[in-house]
């Protein structure tokens, strides 16, 4: 077997069949698109072309995955548009070379093909994939603020039409093998690697003159064809649906739709240019940088627990096999379910049978909805791992007890005293609380060193974040074991120091309370909602209020005052009190909150709000509201960093984006401050503090950073 000079591709030629197999096996753990890949591909294709009697080519992978896309460092570091445009065009040309080489080329997808890796497969005449449920396919580029730049917007659209291609490209949808086959992202599925190879050979032999549809004379675009009134209507609806999702805050899917629509009206080769231009614009722009930093680098670091203690490092051998969950409410039930799904034996304890019944019913629902990969037996086994009980004794010997009872210090203390002794020797205690500080909670504990805060987010089965709170006495060993559990249940941790509301709840409250304050000042509620979404916030604050209930926030404010000693009362809080106490507008579940509900469906802002709020703001407008909503959160994040609650800047970003739906397009509150300019932000905060009070006062950290002209993160885009 030959090899390319850089060793990226193993080359073999079967003389009997006339088939060259180019097996990508780049240095490192995965095949990804970079200079090594580019050189390897070019060399490999030239080598294949030079084989006498060449009848076909198989592109294969020597790694687990086929190819996982562009090396992110290249994207993140790119700032010279001219140079990046040239590089993108070179990749496009290399891919073009594959599909026009004159013999059939088959992509042997023995593992995941994502982004540029799937685009590589698209440049082949046929995609044959392994029917491995772990293998994933798709074009997730927009989730990092860019778009498929190696022909993906052009090939997939010409292959599957606007609607299907938009579905995948604009949402960055990634699917497993079976669904990929159903959607024609791949042409054929085979059981194993050998099967894939055999099928590839068979296809080459029966399609000796394979070409791409768009290179054939008389190619007809999957209807509706570009330029027709039908296509115009479909693209218009595409714009509308996209805007419903993004509120215009995300550039990548917008440019992707432009690239699809404009490029597909042109010849294939020139359509690629259009795609490359939009790609370059995005990749060198600020939004992609901010998104890549948080959604890739910081998220990956958090997932890898970088810089955090581990059981391996500390030589902890004692594992966790049994988990007890105290309290079978919404949270407790779901926590029990994900623990069971991850293989733990779980005891779910409550003092009420009806709560346990409801929780088990919820777990059954989750199993049928979210454990589809399991067969009937697997599902039954999953549910059997959860043991609901009214008896404390069943908890005996648990390695981990997760307390998920009401947010009440006394109650939590009582539960701790009662059940902590049931822990296995050396077992750890975790309190699932969204705000109560851990150190005072641990006062009821005999082993405060083995006591930790574990803030789950609702719905537990969907939210990837887990906020771990280290109390004053929590040991590194306890943290390491909690992290091991976190990894097992596939959550992404942030680790913060103690303090009321920890990190996420503080920022979240700032968002909600600022919105309430804005409403109380008389700003248009509909404008507040849209302002938030157009800034990228996942859900408008008044809608969030209704979901988490106004009642909860109304109770939380005096709590917060008690624990922080900060005065939190405001016109916004007064409004909340009136809404809850006088008008019984508790939230969505009650069918009445900031919004009106008809048959459980949200309709419009409660018209009565106009009577409750009589104030008229001196100035209003979308920019003012965006500034208030975003800066209120950012200053809280900066404070948490300043106070040492946040120890790693990445946690501020990951926590906000994955925990509370902070605008992902911005990269998080610290990135947002960087982007707006730290000096500008300080100036704005000082002005707001004068007008609105201390909640806007910039913390010393921001003042000193502004003075020194520092940033939270290194500037990587052109604008800086």
């Amino acid at each position: 077997m030959d090899e390319t000079k850089n060793g990226a591709v193993k080359l073999s030629f079967d003389q009997d069949l006339g088939i060259a197999t180019l097996t990508f096996q780049m240095s490192g753990k995965a095949n990804m698109i970079n200079d090594e890949f580019g050189a390897g591909l070019a060399e490999a294709l030239a080598w294949a072309k030079a084989r006498p009697g060449l009848k076909g080519i198989i592109l294969a992978s020597g790694h687990k995955d086929f190819c996982v896309g562009t090396e992110i460092d290249i994207l993140y570091q790119a700032r010279d548009v001219e140079e990046l445009y040239r590089r993108v065009r070179a990749v496009q040309a290399a891919y073009r070379e594959i599909e026009t080489i004159g013999v059939p080329v088959v992509a042997a997808l023995t593992g995941s093909a994502l982004g540029g890796g799937y685009e590589l497969a698209l440049a082949c005449h046929r995609r044959i994939a392994i029917a491995d449920p772990r293998a994933q396919f798709g074009l997730p580029e927009v989730t990092l603020g860019v778009l498929p730049g190696a022909g993906g917007t052009q090939r997939l659209t010409r292959m599957l039409g606007f609607q299907v291609a938009a579905d995948f490209i604009l949402q960055g949808k990634v699917v497993r093998a079976a669904e990929a086959k159903e959607a024609w992202l791949v042409d054929e599925l085979c059981g194993d690697r050998e099967g894939v190879r055999d099928a590839a050979i068979a296809w080459i032999r029966s399609n000796p003159r394979a070409t791409q549809p768009w290179d054939r004379k008389g190619f007809t675009f999957p209807p509706p064809a570009p330029g027709t009134a039908d296509a115009r209507d479909m693209v218009l609806v595409g714009c509308g649906l996209l805007y419903q999702k993004t509120a215009g805050a995300f550039l990548a899917p917008q440019y992707a739709l432009s690239a699809m629509q404009e490029g597909c009206g042109l010849t294939f080769d020139r359509g690629l240019e259009v795609e490359a231009r939009y790609f370059t614009k995005l990749a060198c722009g600020g939004q992609a940088k901010d998104m890549i930093r948080t959604l890739w680098y910081h998220r990956t670091a958090a997932e890898k627990h970088e810089g955090l203690p581990s059981i391996e490092q500390l030589g902890i051998e004692q594992g966790i096999s049994t988990v007890g969950v105290l309290g079978a409410g919404m949270m407790g039930g779901a926590i029990a379910w994900i623990a069971a799904k991850s293989g733990y034996q779980v005891v779910l304890k409550d003092i009420r049978q009806d709560a346990l019944d409801a929780a088990m019913k919820h777990c059954e629902g989750l199993t049928s909805k979210r454990a589809r990969h399991l067969d009937e037996v697997g599902r039954r086994e999953l549910l059997a791992r959860i043991k609901p009980t009214l008896a404390n004794e069943e908890l005996k010997g648990s390695d981990l007890l997760i307390e998920a009872v009401f947010e009440d210090m006394d109650l939590k203390h009582r539960v701790t005293r009662e059940t902590e002794p049931l822990l296995a020797a050396g077992g750890i205690w975790a309190s699932n609380t969204s705000a109560l500080p851990i150190t005072p909670l641990a006062r009821a504990s005999q082993h405060p060193d083995r006591f930790i805060g574990m803030h789950f987010f609702s719905p537990v089965e969907q939210m990837v974040l887990l906020e771990l709170i280290v109390g004053r006495q929590t040991s590194d060993r306890t943290l390491a074991r909690a992290l091991a559990f976190c990894r097992q249940i596939k959550k992404t941790p942030i680790v913060v120091n103690d303090g009321y509301g920890f990190y996420t709840t503080r920022v979240f409250s700032a968002y909600l309370m600022e919105a309430a304050q804005l409403v109380a000042e008389g700003h248009n509620p509909a404008l507040i909602e849209w302002a938030a979404r157009s800034a990228g916030m996942v859900i408008g604050p008044l809608q969030v209020f209704d979901e988490v209930t106004l009642t909860l926030v109304r109770k939380a404010v005096p709590h917060g005052e008690k624990y922080t000693g900060r005065r939190l009362a405001s016109e916004g809080f007064e409004l909340l009190k009136t809404m809850v106490d006088d008008h019984k507008r508790y939230g969505r579940a009650a069918g009445a909150g900031f919004y009106e509900y008809v048959d459980g469906k949200r309709r419009h802002i409660w018209p009565g709000l106009g009577q409750v709020v009589r104030a008229t703001p001196e100035r209003s407008g979308i920019d003012l509201i965006i500034s208030r909503l975003m800066l209120a959160q950012c200053v809280e994040a900066a404070r948490a960093l300043d106070e040492g609650v946040i120890q790693r800047k990445r946690d501020a970003e990951v926590g906000a984006v994955f925990g509370i739906g902070f605008a992902p397009n911005t990269g998080g509150p610290l990135s947002y401050i960087d982007r707006r300019g730290i000096r500008t932000v300080v100036r704005e905060l000082e002005a707001l503090a004068r007008e609105q009070g201390d909640r806007y006062a910039p913390p010393p950290l921001l003042l000193s950073m502004a003075e020194k002209g520092e940033r939270f993160f290194e500037a990587v885009d052109q604008a800086g």
Binding site: E82, Y85, E262, G265, L266, E273, R277, K281, C284
Partner: protein
Amino acid sequence: MADAFIFDAVRTPRGIGKDRGSLYTVRPTDLLVTVLEALRERTALDTKQVEDVVIGCVTQTGEQGTCIARFAALEAGYDYAAPGCTVNRFCASGLQAVNQAAAQVAAGWADLVVAGGVESMSRVKMGSDVGAMFDPATQWKIGSVPQGISADLLATLRGISREDVDTYALESQRRALRARDSGKFDRSIVPVRDINGLSILEKDEYPRADCSLARLAELKPSFEMLGRQFGMDTLTRKVYPHVDRINHVHTPGNSSGLVDAAAVMLIGSKKKGRALGLKPRARIVAAVSTGDEPLLMLTGPLPATRLALKKARMELKDIDLFEVNEAFAAVALTYLRELGIDPERMNAHGGAIALGHPLGATGAIILNTALDLLEERNLSTALTTLCIGGGMGTATIIERV
């Protein structure tokens, strides 16, 4: 009646109007946005003051449908109050837009108007708007043939030979190349850039440095088959019963080229110019359109020129320079011969044979070229005219101030 003045004029380079052309990847709206933005920047224009954006565009379908003038103005960031109007007078649309703007100003109905044209022939194919001109009903009543047939009929009637048209074409190429390569067009050209600011095209792309009489002579007549085998020549006998054989002299080498481009100019009253601190470059002295026999189609510039001179109370000798659209070489030769003009004073920087004819934009482009030439040569008056489908002609006389 008030006077209408040209304050400034800009255009994009003309890109080859095929799928290999540089501007093929650029939306026609973006071509127009490019010049609208450049005009605003060059004249420090407060677009709130703009009372209309009149844009010539011939093939108003596909990406050039739905009033491109309005959407380009909006995309260029012009004030909402600056409306848009897209006009079609076939090949003279760009000049028609200017004339209309001038008329609005002259009438006192507007004081500041942006006028120009756009056509992306690579993206929106000529004739893709279909239309009624070749309907049988039209045919039986009036007679209607493709322009190339008319051009060859014109050559036949005027005794213009293949050698005549090729010689003319070669000279057009020579002049265009000289002008382009010595930077004569630079003053008015705005490069077309992509979304990243990277340059897509900076100079006119169509002229051919490798042109020669021998090579021109090798080219096959474009309309011979259509004329002789498919009956088009015969259709002309409805009006020209005596022409029993049309001499098909026109080839791609001596006809105007398909290109993509956009152009705009700022037109307004003296008062408005003073108020905005804009210095007029020229006054629009006359702006006319007229018509002639539609089957022969291409002789419109002659009556249009006579009409313009009459309206301006001028004579031919009062005109220093002529810009006549080279739709086909026979059109330009007919104009030269009929009016006895010194060839040096007509299309001094070449014409559409070498530079291309972006249908809706050409009128505004060649008027711009005429204005630049007057300033370059320190002359005073120029007449710009185009032949038009359906037998029409449009002409504009300008005078430097």
